[in-house]
Amino acid sequence: MIEVENLGKKYGNNFAVRNLNFSVKKGEILGFLGPNGAGKTTTMRILTCYLPATEGSARVAGFDVFKEGLQVRKRIGYLPENSPLYREMSVTSFLDFITRIKGVPRRKRKDRIASVLDRCKIDEVKNRLIQHLSKGYRQRVGLAAALIHDPEVLILDEPTIGLDPKQIIEIRELIKSLAGDHTVILSTHILPEVTQTCQRVVIINEGKVVAEDTFEKLQERLRKAERLSVRVKRDSSIVPQKLASIGGVVSVAPIDAAPGGYIVESTLGADVREEVARIVAQENWGLLEMKPMVMSLEDVFLKLTTEEEGIPSNQES
């Protein structure tokens, strides 16, 4: 449904995103995960034809976002970050305006408005001015506007930002209920959000895709072992043997670029640093360096694993 190939966007001399590749299948909910400033919003703006890409191409529902923008925009529902709305309008008149510019046929307008009012639970505020609504309601009005023409593709940029825990759960339930009929891309910088709503995850950092897989597989891949980088001054053939004999160590591999350097992999949860240091000192190899290795993906994950207050982490339904 959505194919992104080598996509790049340059602001001035800096690339906000570069060589971006991923695809989304029909009916799937894709989590678009990345720390703040990773290029999530830029990517979504390109997909919704708001910004032109500097290089590469993207296709939505078979149409090129640059050459056939109008066709793409007909099929997309987009909730931008901070859901921009016309504050001086009432909810109903705002939604009526959206049906008109989205090209909903005149006969269907009333039904569509009633349907999204009900689905997003904003029926009780439908005659209020948007500027008088709370942040949670505004977010839902924005979502209603994105859903109003029943688009094939939904692009939601941080839909739960600024909501209270109860509202977050409601919005997530709503998004989950869209799977199947709609293809959804959901951007977020909150890890638990993805685990609860999305079937597949694309993780980007500094404008590049770091990983693309289901969440379970990613977790598996990440946390197989603890890794430690060690470097000694007087290297010899017995160094790897001795290190491998330490309890908990799974393998010892030399680092090609650094003479005397080894990567020590141990089982999950085992901290072998003390033992390694003791042996190196005992054998008088001269310890130059020892540090735990953090993979870039793990690094990204660390930035993403923010605690969400008030929401039970095992919230599933």
Binding site: L70, P84, E88, M89
Partner: protein, 255 residues
């Protein structure tokens, strides 16, 4: 067409659901009402004098002496208030981020610009229709010619159709409404007074400057002369303003 209508309708809703349109109309009616009153006072004095010196009576003409100055004064008021009418049109969308909403909908840039243009123009037309009351008084107590009144109003609408695109352009250039209004006012004022510099310039330059001056083209229309030359000038000026607005908006996306 339907999309232009949707944008236009929303703009009108904003103008008329908020105090904006009412304040504009009220101020415009009061100011032009004062002009009408003071011009009429002057005309009455002349009439009194004409009673004493009957040889001048033939020169009295309500079209030339009341309605034409009134319309010209209204065009000066346009200069002052149109920048405030157009200042929010694009800058506010940009500031609140709602341009993202419009530009990701299946409507084209042209439709958005035209919708906003006709929205602002409709407010001006409503204001002008209400000032029709003043000439109506003139018809009640005197017998002016209808033709020049109509062509004068046509000229004012065309003048507004030239002012509004300049306002749109300035509004598209900035996020700040005040900056947009001041820029618009500056541009309009320059185009207004450019004719003054014509006198001291050489022949060719003088003709070009005269042609560019927005007011010179209003003269004929206010006299009742509908010349295609003036209408073509106004329409092409307006079209160029709208085109530049489109360029300004498009170029912002590529940055």
């Amino acid at each position: 067409m339907r999309n232009i209508w949707a944008i236009l309708l929303r703009e009108l809703k904003v103008y008329f659901a908020s105090p904006i349109a009412y304040v504009f109309t009220a101020v415009f009616l009061i100011v032009s009402g004062f002009f009408f009153w003071s011009i009429l006072q002057m005309f009455n004095t002349w009439c009194m004098q004409a009673m004493q010196y009957p040889q001048y009576a033939g020169q009295l003409n309500i079209n030339e002496m009341v309605i034409r100055p009134l319309l010209q004064n209204m065009s000066v008021v346009f200069l002052m208030i149109i920048p405030f009418l157009t200042m929010r049109l694009f800058s506010d969308e940009r500031r609140t981020g709602t341009d993202e909403l419009l530009l990701t909908s299946p409507i084209t840039m042209n439709q958005i610009i035209l919708g906003k243009f006709f929205g602002a123009l409709s407010v001006v037309v409503v204001m002008l229709l209400l000032t029709g009351l003043y000439p109506l008084f003139a018809f009640q107590y005197s017998s002016p010619e209808l033709g020049p009144v109509m062509s004068g109003y046509l000229g004012l609408v065309l003048l507004a159709a030239c002012f509004i695109p300049i306002g749109l352009l300035c509004s598209a250039l900035t996020e700040n409404q005040i900056v947009a209004a001041v820029l618009t006012f500056g541009c309009l004022l320059l185009l207004w007074v450019i004719g003054w510099s014509a006198e001291s310039a050489g022949y060719m330059t003088r003709e070009i400057i005269r042609y560019l001056s927005l007011t010179d083209h209003l003269e004929d229309l206010a006299k009742g002369v509908i010349d295609t030359k003036d209408i073509v000038f106004y329409l092409s000026f307006s079209a160029m303003g709208l085109f530049l607005t489109k360029m300004a908006l498009e170029s912002r996306r590529w940055r």
